[in-house]
């Protein structure tokens, strides 16, 4: 059903009937207000001149606090400087689950927007009653209503009349777009002055009276146990031990670090499980498939797989290619950290977790505390890009705090712990087969996605735990393994379904779980990186087989005007895919996707240089076009799109976790190199504003298209197709050699 927002913000069906009952429409308009409809849960006027906005979404460096302040300021008609976005805390801010999947603007943004729109109307009604005029006769400006005779009353006086105690169940009219002062323009990031100038801003910067500092000593391999006694102290540090969980705690972080090094030399670890060295090999993965799911309308179905769609009879050509993606590290620049205080009955934790509500419940379960006795405050950390060690560090800190009751414990992982023990971005294999008709169009498409699991986040479990240290306790809490993700565009089938119109189509996800110590979990863009890399590479292979231009070939396979618009815009920005004449080591390539086939559209053109002598890729230029619906904060959107491109370029060109028998053999930035400043191309980005389309997050939308564009540029530059990530010189050289 076509529908649109009418001028007063109420949803109207295309035929003019009002239709606010539709569940997905309600969710789109109200966001997390669907779960938390109480207006006072989202908004407060705590003192003269100040507005507090409460959110369950946390700052990960994506600028969500600033975006929410913009939205609240716009709908309340106040200056953004009056808005305080409260820190997310269990029990006092709305529980909005995980801050993940680029959903914060859709969920929290929509809720804050509607909460503020309702509050504005309620305040205006109170003002009208107090000033004895009609609501229409009032003009609002920065927290003050004024009548035509100049009588005024402030929001803060009106709010003092009492709580709203009001349930939001239907959308209120929004401020008209033509009068927007902040939405679409943006304001400087609210959190950056402290962060950039080095003021205390992150979990390890928190200082509490009597604080002590801790380091944990991880086993050399998963499952190894400590069979012998540990000393009670090492120098000035105390040793905390529970089963095979061992940590040191001292009066300063420097002492804790030194004590950890000294204690490590004394520990006698036994046993443990070896890592499968070939865990990323397609044959190993295929041998450990647990179940298969046909992907139907973006959902993993438990029904039988559809028949093979490839008709070999009437096809002019059938192509097949296999693409692989290795295990990756999230690679936070700041290792995971947490602060915990245990007073014997209750536990308070400060964490940079993406889901403080789930973390609090999981901590309570492992520690045997009542769930109501655990409070988790979100405090910013270094960027995490998904499920890294943040939650695990929170349990580590809580365990030390339990042994040191009444003392605030600041615990931080060492760099090698972060590299070796964070959950890995899952390895994937994507097999694509397509038939190309004599008309040059793809007539059928068969896709087989082989994937480890993408979500081992610490959801509270009926039994067991997903927090790392819990498996080492005495008695251990059994490891709860990740479950396959079956939801719309989730996990390994995120962007598994091509956005193009490709005739008969079959997409099957095969879920891999090898019962080894491997731990994989959510990493920025989840399956979209491997899937879009594969699909966009293969589209170029098909275009080449059809003798078609890659741009025209894509446009010939999509009628979606927003898809066409970003592809055309990126190509226009680049001035086409032709490379400057006379330089045969330079190539240009295009990559496109609509994130989750339902969110932001991004097209990327990359120009790179790869001399045959070095086989080393130098990225020269990137031209990006993005459409994330209505633009709330153009600068924040650019930052996310460009940042996603740069991170994905690093994955694509450089990154791979090598596995040794004891786990990831990379333990620092020399053994796991990432892109550096001198390797960054010039980037030009065009944002396409769609004021009529709901705003969607874009933090992950450019990743897949970046990989696709680089792959296609590499193929154009070298004449060889590299289908295994990353594109390190040895892989490119091997492709050259195979050509000879």
């Amino acid at each position: 059903m076509d529908s649109a927002l009418t001028e007063d913000g109420v949803l109207a069906a295309a035929d003019g009937r009002r239709a606010i009952g539709d569940e997905s429409t309600r969710r789109r308009l109200l966001g997390s207000l669907v779960e938390h409809p109480l207006l006072d849960a989202w908004l407060a006027f705590p003192e003269e001149g100040r507005v507090t906005v409460r959110t369950g979404k946390v700052e990960l460096g994506q600028g969500i606090r600033t975006a929410l302040a913009i939205i609240a300021a716009e709908e309340l008609v106040v200056s953004p400087a009056r808005i305080d976005v409260a820190r997310t805390t269990t029990g006092s801010t709305p529980d909005e689950g995980f801050t993940a999947g680029s959903r914060s603007i859709e969920q929290s943004g929509a809720a804050v927007r509607q909460a503020c729109a309702h509050a504005y109307r309620l305040l205006r009604d109170r003002a009208a009653a107090r000033l004895e005029v009609s609501a229409d006769a009032l003009v609002a400006d920065d927290g003050v209503f004024t009548t035509s005779n100049g009588d005024t009353v402030s929001y803060f006086e009106l709010a003092a009349e009492g709580p709203f105690d009001y349930l939001v169940t239907a959308p209120a009219p929004l401020q008209p777009a033509a009068e927007h002062r902040f939405i679409g323009r943006g304001i400087p990031r609210l959190d950056l002055p402290a962060k950039i100038s080095g003021a205390p801003a992150y979990v390890p910067d928190l200082r509490l009276p009597g604080m002590r500092f801790a380091r944990v000593l991880r086993p050399p391999r998963p499952g190894a146990t400590l069979e012998t006694a540990t000393p009670a102290t090492v120098g000035s540090a105390d040793v905390v031990r529970d089963g095979s969980f061992v940590a040191v705690v001292a009066g300063s972080e420097g002492e804790a670090e030194e004590a950890a090094e000294r204690l490590a030399a004394l520990l006698d670890w036994r046993g443990g499980m070896g890592f499968p060295l070939d865990a990323a090999d397609p044959s190993y993965m295929a041998a450990h498939v647990v179940s298969s799911y046909p992907i139907i309308d973006g959902l993993a179905s438990d029904g039988p797989a559809p028949p093979d769609p490839i008709s070999h009879d009437d096809a002019a050509l059938v192509l097949h290619s296999r693409f692989t993606k290795p295990f990756l590290l999230h690679g936070s620049i700041g290792p995971s950290a947490a602060v915990a205080l245990h007073d014997g009955a209750s536990l308070t934790v400060w964490s940079h977790s993406q889901g403080v509500g789930f973390l609090g419940k999981s901590l309570a379960d492992v520690l045997g505390l009542d769930r109501g006795a655990v409070t988790v405050h979100h405090l910013d950390g270094a960027g995490c890009y998904g499920h890294n060690g943040a939650d695990d560090a929170a349990l580590d800190a809580a365990l030390v705090a339990r042994a040191c009751q009444g003392q605030p414990i600041s615990l931080r992982w060492a760099r090698a712990d972060e590299h070796r023990f964070e959950p890995l971005g899952p390895a994937m294999v994507v097999d694509l087969t397509a038939s190309l008709g004599r008309d040059g169009r793809v007539s059928s498409w068969d896709e087989d996605i082989l994937t480890y699991r993408h979500n081992a986040r610490p959801l509270p479990q009926a039994t067991g735990s997903r927090l790392l240290a819990s498996w080492s306790l005495d008695p251990p809490v059994e490891r709860s393994r990740a479950a396959p993700m079956l939801d719309f565009e989730a996990g390994g089938h995120r962007n598994g379904t091509p956005h193009y119109e490709l005739g008969a189509m079959r997409v099957v996800k095969r879920d891999v779980d090898d019962a080894s110590p491997l731990r994989t979990s959510a990493m920025r863009s989840l399956g979209a990186l491997a899937n879009v890399f594969a699909i966009e590479s293969f589209m170029d292979e098909l275009a080449s087989a059809a003798g078609a231009d890659p741009v025209a070939f894509r446009l010939g396979h999509t009628s979606d005007p927003r898809a066409r618009a970003v592809i055309e815009a990126a190509v226009e920005l680049a001035g086409g895919l032709e490379v400057p004449a006379g330089d045969d080591s330079v190539g240009r390539g295009l990559g496109f996707a609509q994130y989750e086939n339902s969110m932001a559209y991004v097209a990327v053109v990359v120009e790179l240089e790869v001399p045959a002598r070095t086989a080393q890729i130098t990225l020269r230029h990137a031209w990006i076009a993005a459409d994330a619906g209505e633009i709330i904060d153009p600068d924040g959107l650019l930052n996310q799109i460009e940042g996603g491109f740069v991170q994905a370029a690093s994955w694509t060109i450089k990154e791979k976790v090598e596995l040794g028998p004891d786990g990831p053999s990379c333990s620092d930035w020399d053994s796991y190199p990432i892109l550096r400043f001198s390797e960054i191309p010039s980037i030009h980005t065009k944002l396409i504003d769609r004021p009529d389309c709901p705003p969607v997050g874009a933090g992950e939308a450019s990743c897949g298209p970046a990989a696709g564009a680089i792959a296609n540029a590499l193929a154009q530059a070298t004449g060889v197709r590299v289908r295994d990530l990353p594109f390190r010189p040895e892989a490119i050289r091997a492709a050259f050699d195979a050509l000879d």
């Binding site: 100038s197 080095g198 300063s252 420097g254 960027g383 460009e642 940042g643 491109f645 690093s650 550096r676």
Partner: protein
């Protein structure tokens, strides 16, 4: 016991000579701008100046800097160059999580005090720093404005780091 001279303050500390400077700055002196990133001199998050020269405070022993002036971002941000660099980074929202930025700011301020510095040299100096969020294009744009205000004079401008956003 080493006496440290940090940001023009004298600190007579009960610490071992082998203690990494980073921990003396954070634990004993209470500074927050030097960040722990790797402890291996690989990421630049802990960078400070000793004798006016950038060092990784995570791998610098307190005993080796006793009696020598140490400057952290807390002091450097109050200089004219510090103001220029921090304001430039803020105006450009040149960060996402921001964790790597204090170290990067130290490098940019140190270079700004030595202008003119060729832009390529600035980029090479920034290679001592890792950023994971992908804020490099913005940081490079800010650096370009500080060190190379007339980009046309610096060649064809086709190399790294001046991508701009157009809406």
């Amino acid at each position: 016991m080493p006496v440290l001279y940090v940001n023009d303050g004298e600190h007579d500390l009960e610490i071992g000579s082998n203690l990494p400077l980073l921990w003396a700055l954070r634990d004993q002196i209470g500074l927050s701008s030097p960040k722990y990133g790797c402890g291996l001199e690989q990421c630049g998050a802990c960078r400070v100046l000793v004798d006016g020269v950038p060092v990784a405070s995570c791998r610098t022993r307190c005993g080796d800097v006793a009696g020598r002036p140490v400057a952290t971002l807390e002091a450097l941000r109050a200089t004219a160059e510090g103001h220029e660099v921090i304001e430039g980074l803020l105006r450009a929202n040149a960060a996402q999580c921001g964790y790597c930025l204090p170290g990067i700011a130290v490098t940019l301020i140190w270079l700004a005090m030595r202008r003119p510095v060729p832009f390529d040299e600035v980029v090479r100096a920034l290679d001592d720093h890792l950023c994971r969020c992908g804020s490099h294009p913005r940081i490079l744009r800010v650096a370009r404005r500080i060190f190379d205000p007339d980009p046309d004079a610096a060649g064809d401008g086709s190399r790294a780091g001046h991508g701009n956003g157009e809406t």
